[in-house]
Symmetry: C2
């Protein structure tokens, strides 16, 4: 057991203590709430805090049998997920005070496994680009990234060990990178989306944040029922493929250096490291992802677009207008391109275990008006591959920097294993 304060410990360590009844849930929760009280005025990660409800739930868990994998673990729920006992606003004034009738499926799975929902965390408007109030806990004048801004900030600031995120473009990997924590976007389709506000059915992916790779594995095991994700241990060194992507010219110096350092560090740690230049067809995927997202968002948000246009931000309204004008034929061609690219990259994973690639252009940019550039995540989201952001260094101004580990479709266990290997190796 580490000697760190409870709120700073890993979810895995806390889960073991809770399961063995060496720690009670209320005690842990109070430690998290204390941190929230201390820091929330500055960080502003939450749209709703359910302290009393959470405390009641913790006491109930302490009195009863062990419920499951997440017994007694406090979590943050991105306010894009429906919750039956907390308001759910999707980051939009259209839904101010909205109370859904049910919990989102993934939330219900975690609560069924014993997790305690502490509150709802800030999301950008419908998980798109207009920021909420959250600040980067490492430097309050900088963005935490989006759209899962509050979840990433809350985990980074040790308010909770775990929190829900979703990614349609870059909404898990980017805030994880800016806040210096682990963000995990599972293989497309692995986690049920029922009760999560839909933006783009081809892209929307439920995932999570933690401070270690093993922690997000634990969270995902509870969300999906896939026990293999509990087996994330340091195994034999993976073969990493370094992929600069066709968007490499966007990479700032901090990201460039992180890629060099990782290649060198992994190699000297005993891993095989190769270069992986992407075939030409992949250069069209960033554009395709943007068009697919706009086309589908214009349809998924048809109710809001047709009934509440004045309450939609001008930027999102512009995307929806562009999306509704994209012809179905062009959309189908984008989907075909994505499908060909998915088949092509699947074969590449015969040659290596995992890809490392940039997560962001660099450190979290200054200002709270934007959540940063999603350019390094759009393609991987469209490909539907499992992605794990691993923080391991700091940039030129001292803010967190890391990289994403990307695995074969469906090989989430191996991808987390490789990410764990990277996190362990680069931490030394």
């Amino acid at each position: 057991m580490s000697g760190a304060p409870l709120n700073e410990r890993s979810a895995l360590e806390l889960a073991h203590l809770l399961q063995r009844r060496e720690l009670n849930a209320e005690h842990l929760l109070r430690s998290c709430l204390e941190r929230i009280h201390l820091r929330e005025p500055e960080v502003q990660a939450w749209t709703h805090l359910a302290e009393e409800k959470a405390l009641r739930h913790a006491r109930e868990l302490d009195r009863g049998a062990v419920r499951g994998l997440m017994h007694g673990l406090p979590i943050g729920v991105k306010d894009l997920f429906d919750t039956m006992d907390m308001p759910t606003c999707y980051g939009s004034p259209i839904y101010a005070g909205h109370r859904p009738a049910a919990d989102a499926a993934s939330v219900a799975m975690c609560i069924g496994a014993g997790a305690i929902a502490v509150g709802k965390t800030v999301t950008t408007e419908f998980a798109t680009f207009k920021p909420g109030k959250t600040r980067n806990p490492h430097r309050l004048t900088h963005t935490p990234g989006g759209s899962s801004s509050g979840s990433a900030a809350a985990v980074a600031d040790a308010m909770v060990p775990l929190a829900f995120g979703t990614q349609t473009a870059a909404s898990i990997i980017r805030p994880a990178a800016f806040c210096g924590i682990v963000g995990y976007k599972p293989s497309f389709g692995n986690v049920a989306r029922a009760g999560v506000k839909s933006l783009s059915e081809t892209l929307d992916t439920v995932g999570c944040f933690g401070r270690t790779v093993q922690d997000v594995g634990l969270f995902a095991a509870a969300m999906t029922g896939d026990d293999r994700l509990l087996q994330i241990e340091r195994a034999s060194a993976p073969h990493f493929a370094v992929c600069r992507t066709h968007e490499w010219h966007y990479a700032g110096q901090d990201t460039q250096r992180a890629m060099q350092d990782a290649a060198a560090g992994l190699s000297s740690g005993g891993a095989r490291v190769s270069d992986f230049p992407l075939p030409e067809i992949f250069s069209r995927l960033v554009q395709a992802q943007s068009e697919i997202m706009a086309f589908e968002a214009a349809r998924s948000l048809a109710h809001e677009r047709l009934n509440h246009l004045p309450a939609i931000s001008p930027a999102l309204a512009g995307i929806l207008k562009a999306g509704i004008e994209i012809p179905m034929e062009q959309h189908q061609n984008n989907l075909k391109l994505a499908n060909s690219a998915r088949i092509a990259i699947d074969g590449c994973f015969d040659r290596f275990d995992a890809i490392i690639a940039p997560s962001t252009i660099g450190e979290a940019p200054e200002g709270l008006e934007h959540t940063g550039d999603p350019v390094f995540c759009r393609m991987w989201t469209l490909l539907g591959l499992p992605c794990v952001h691993v923080p391991f260094t700091t940039g030129s101004t001292g803010l967190p920097v890391g990289l994403q580990v990307i695995g074969r479709y469906g090989a989430d266990e191996q991808t987390l294993q490789a990410a764990h290997w990277l996190q362990q190796t680069m931490r030394r």
Copy 2:
């Protein structure tokens, strides 16, 4: 213009009259409401009728500009779709009196195009197997099929020209077959599912019912924005592939005869007709579809399973229990199998334009305790291909019988064209 009563006419004819202002929306709606008043006590297609709201909407449309493709057309909305101004119960007592905050995306698209929602139609429990109250309008002691029971019965009984459906196993094609109307399941992914209660993300597909193929094309054009679906005309004769499927031994005599008659009729009508035996791998898809549906339903309905188990029917509870016990690895293997089969069948469409295959075992069975066997639809739903049920004959007891036309993934226009050709040819 036909001389038939307004409520019996095709949506396409009505749309033309409404657009040219030769018919007013209120007049048409009153004709539909009259039919509903006459027949609803026996047919029981509706869970909620919104007469006053619909009449207000009709008068508003008559006063204002032409809104879009569906201007003034009365529609039925399956009670699996969220509606902001009508109760939405998903066929389950858990949601009795539930009022969602927004319309489902596809409903919003149609209302945006000028459609008038007359009310909510009966669905089975969460679109699975436990029937609602609806009876087959052709013979009240027989099932209308499920899960889109009320929508199919309402359109078949000339209560409305068009209604929404969804299909996860057989929920559009089967009730269309039993009620003797056209049912259209678009290519997977073509219609946004936001606001439709999720059962299985790999399978759930939004579609619709009408009395002609052109009518469902009009409806789908409004739902998706794909104008190509408005161009369904009698063109050159398609090349049909007759596919008995690996489930042929389930086909009753009426279905067997329909297949023979169609092959003969299409051929003498000028179409090329070939036999299309499916490769062996397709024999495993019915089982795979059942397992995928159970696996995903257990997750999508996690909130209901974990919080409201006593209010779930024993049959559905059994499916959810089985589903939660399927290991993720088995689920991934099922998805891989489906993907291989999708690639295999796509290539087959180089050799013909459309497949004809059974929709059901035979006529609507007697009794209201079951909605009939979904066996002939499971595979096509898993493949994600566009399917259109076309009614063209009657069975040994006089109830409707037809077949489904199945097209290449994404080729919805060509599929509807082939179905239209079949409907026109076999009607003669």
